[in-house]
Symmetry: C2
Subunit: 376 residues, 2 copies
């Protein structure tokens, strides 16, 4: 871990005091307020998608989408820092605001999540149909490509018209085309609802209370009296330890053995709770994020990029996305009165995404074992 690791027992390391935490929280709060202003100015609350016709990227400008992402980004960082450095902050204040921040970033994330999920599933249907993929996704075959496609989808989600969302149905079998149409209908509806919910949230008094709290934070961080001289590093180290403990509990030996076929093992299980095996990975994803933000607090603006953490985090994002996409395919297959060909295509799609889950675990295992190569 070398230079990037902050070892509290290292006598050569500098003490990082509560000032660094205050500075970080102020900066994130300022960023939140800036994003909120931008979101209001760019009409983030206009252009709700018409039901059944909405496509990813059709509503909201690029600026408004960027602003919503920046809002989520800073809300997550504030919330994470309040959690990791809890003993250094006013307990009542901090415990009151954290669930509110979680509610806000969760609510704001849903619309994008449904759009991205639909993109992922439609791209997978095209890949599985051996259809010619779009120029931007020419390499979109298999694991690394799926990640690429996902990235493309994320970027494109804000473009006025999204080519991948209007696929040439001619290349698909009837089953694949019908499955695609069904998923588009269901996920677009979910996305439209999420959009409305987000708008309602942003206009609510609950949100205004959060914004007021963040405005206070931007000028005055409620540190405890002892925080100014306290060392942040033991608390950051504890966050890292929670991460490494959780990783140690993952079945990494299995995950590192290619084609272990673990991810699909409950693919046809009668168990209504799908894939409890995914939960520990989701948990590691959250702990990795907490660790990453704690590093940002310690290093400030000079936080070096840790490619190992970055790659591991991307693998876990992909794991989460594939896990949720596979569940959406399984859910769509439960729609009453669908044709057998549609159900068959959804079964293939579900299994494909479960293998993406397995591939993402393999990728995580590989990047986690990787030697840290610091890029300061």
């Amino acid at each position: 871990m070398a230079q990037q690791h902050l070892d509290p027992t290292d006598p050569t390391a500098q003490v990082v005091s509560g000032d660094a935490l205050a500075g970080y929280l102020r900066a994130q709060a300022t960023e939140f307020l800036r994003a909120l202003r931008l979101h209001r100015e760019t009409g983030g609350d206009g252009g709700a998608p018409a039901r059944g016709k909405a496509r990813p990227g059709e509503n909201g400008s690029q600026e408004s989408v960027d602003a919503a992402r920046a809002l989520r980004r800073s809300a997550r960082r504030v919330s994470a820092s309040l959690h990791t450095f809890r003993p250094l902050l006013d307990a009542d204040w901090s415990e009151a605001i954290r669930p509110e921040l979680a509610w806000l970033s969760g609510t704001l994330a849903m619309e994008h999540a449904y759009a991205a999920r639909l993109e992922r599933l439609l791209l997978a249907l095209h890949r599985l149909s051996g259809a010619t993929v779009l120029p931007a996704q020419t390499g979109a075959v298999g694991m690394p490509a799926a990640a690429d496609a996902q990235k493309t989808a994320t970027v494109d989600a804000a473009a006025p018209s999204h080519p991948a969302a209007t696929p040439e149905r001619g290349n698909l079998t009837v089953g694949a085309a019908k499955a695609g149409a069904l998923l588009e209908r269901q996920l677009t509806l979910a996305r439209t609802r999420a959009h409305s919910t987000a708008l309602q949230a942003l206009g609510s008094s609950r949100f205004h209370a959060v914004a007021d709290n963040i405005a206070v934070l931007a000028s005055e961080v409620p540190l405890t009296p002892a925080a100014a001289t306290a060392d942040l590093r033991p608390l950051a180290a504890a966050a890292e330890e929670r991460l490494t403990d959780a990783v140690a509990a993952l079945p990494l030996v299995t995950a590192g053995s290619p084609y272990n076929a673990e991810a699909l093992i409950h693919g046809l299980s009668p168990d209504p709770a799908p894939h409890p095996q995914d939960a520990p990975w989701h948990q590691v994803r959250l702990l990795l994020r907490l660790h990453r933000y704690a590093r940002e607090v310690l290093h400030g603006d000079n936080c070096p990029v840790d490619v190992r953490l970055l790659a591991s985090g991307q693998a876990l994002n992909r794991h989460r996305d594939a896990s949720e996409a596979s569940a959406a395919a399984a859910q769509a297959a439960r729609t009453p009165r669908i044709a057998p060909a549609t159900a068959y295509a959804l079964g293939v799609l579900h299994a494909d995404q479960r293998h993406e889950v397995e591939a993402a675990r393999f990728a995580f295992q590989q990047s986690w074992q990787m030697q840290t190569v610091g890029t300061p």
Copy 2:
């Protein structure tokens, strides 16, 4: 390749003359006749499975199943040797008997193939349902386990009652149970027909002509006059070269990259010819077998085991089995009037077997790159 590789330019290597070929062919012909006698004595032509009730292993005794396997085994070796060492054998005779041997071993192989395919698919359905597997298949999770299960299935196929063939349906979802029942019905019917076809073949005058030819071979191998002093090694080397050329044309870089998602790329293709990408692998499987049998001819009874060839061949067998099982699942999904839940389970099953195909290619790539470790 060291000691096992027969390099015709190696001056220290011994010439292997046509006598070795004659000896090998006589031995295989004798084995064929012995198996045929055993097959007749053990009632291989009795006990045709009753339609719709037959289960793998219910018809034919263990001895009769062993005898049929030995028949196929020697027929394949005779046929392969006639092919590889063609210039050393009477051309008319050899060209007349080869297609007959191919017909015979093909016909005899079908019944076993359908039984093994059903076993593979039912075991996969159980694995996908997260069901408790049988003690013998406790480790039967994922890739190596699927191969194990397959082995077990092969061994068990002859047992009077096969536990895996009577799975506890209670552990399965309705869809998985119905998919299993549908596959069992279709593949058992196919197996019953293959059984009848094999019986008819063994009673036919066409078969008796083959047996007569093999009887001649057991006493007098029709070598060309030049064969006695000819060196077999260049012909064996040519067989090996055909194999290495075909392997070089395989997409091994892709295959060696885990989770490349290539195998499922036409999983939902409207193309009626399923998975043309499998054909070159099937071809390598046949060429590897020809190479293996040519080695047997050269080395005689002292043929050292080449673990690399063995592992590579097993991977290609698994590739073939998974490819055909995936096609059977897709075929079953085209049955009219099935329930959507059944179709969904068959879609998951199809994709699962296509990933087995991909896993087998990965395993082949791994074993093929392996350093040869001779076990003389």
